[in-house]
Symmetry: C2
Subunit: 167 residues, 2 copies
């Protein structure tokens, strides 16, 4: 496998994985492209490389910036904007975990908490609803907390000791 083929395979695989996990394909592919690029890319570069429109590129770059994993890079003497992504996988994972938690998990935990706090009228079905949503709430909270702790540590002390402990 040569460079070009490998590159295309990486970008397309990343796009598919994104789709599977509820992330827009173009967004995932732009990030993938930047991730393996040796220097910042302009909008033109990205459009050209991924064969997508200007509008699509602009919209998805903005989203990636909102997610905190892509940033604008001003190149002196150049009029147009250039973009780079976080190159460190650890940092990348941290950002993504943090954002998905904030946008998607936290609100669900809140709802589960509300639901599991309804007044128990002593019917079987109400008891079951309370019991099950409470269990889900606790699981979600534990998982979310663990994820944060693991992913936030500046690697190497806690993660390594964790891994040792688990393996």
């Amino acid at each position: 496998m040569q460079y070009q083929e490998a590159k295309e395979k990486f970008i397309s695989t990343w796009g598919s994985l994104g789709t599977l996990w509820g992330i827009n394909k173009a967004m995932a592919q732009i990030q993938a492209l930047l991730f393996i690029s040796t220097e910042p890319l302009s909008m033109e570069d990205i459009m050209e490389e991924l064969k997508i429109s200007r509008g699509n590129t602009s919209t998805n770059l903005r989203q990636l910036i909102d997610w905190g994993i892509v940033s604008k890079k001003l190149i002196t003497g150049e009029r147009k904007e250039y973009f780079t992504t976080e190159k460190d996988v650890q940092e990348l994972a941290r950002h993504i975990a943090k954002e998905r938690s904030r946008r998607e998990i936290q609100p669900v935990i809140k709802v589960l908490n509300e639901i599991s706090s309804i007044k128990d009228d002593n019917t079987t079905k109400t008891k079951e609803l309370i019991k099950q949503t409470k269990a889900l709430h606790d699981l979600a909270e534990t998982a979310d907390t663990m994820l944060h702790k693991i992913v936030n540590q500046e690697q190497n002390w806690i993660t390594k000791s964790l891994l040792k402990l688990i393996k």
Copy 2:
């Protein structure tokens, strides 16, 4: 908030969360419904409750069964089939993690491994591709392994000690 409202809120929240994470809404809602139901439900029950068609119900039940989180329950004297979901959140999480890993993460790890193993032709861009896909590969493998270990333990010894260690 009364029972009915709480139930609807739970089902609809679960459906939305599913959608956000690449899981079909009907599939997530059927699972949610079974999860808080005190007894097994028939296809009719589910169609009625969620206001979805027979075809949709049948297809998504089959998917849930394929995922290993719903099972058929034969009730003696009854002609039709009844369904239940795994009621234990820990087991539920285990199944889902296992399946998503097997179907989605493992194949990506394999691809990343292939890509990061291409011949280094000593150009900057090839070096970068190899370096970055290798980093991603290692991260994915570590995360996947950790997830499995955590989720597979029959709770309470390792997870609790882990939590203590992390918190």
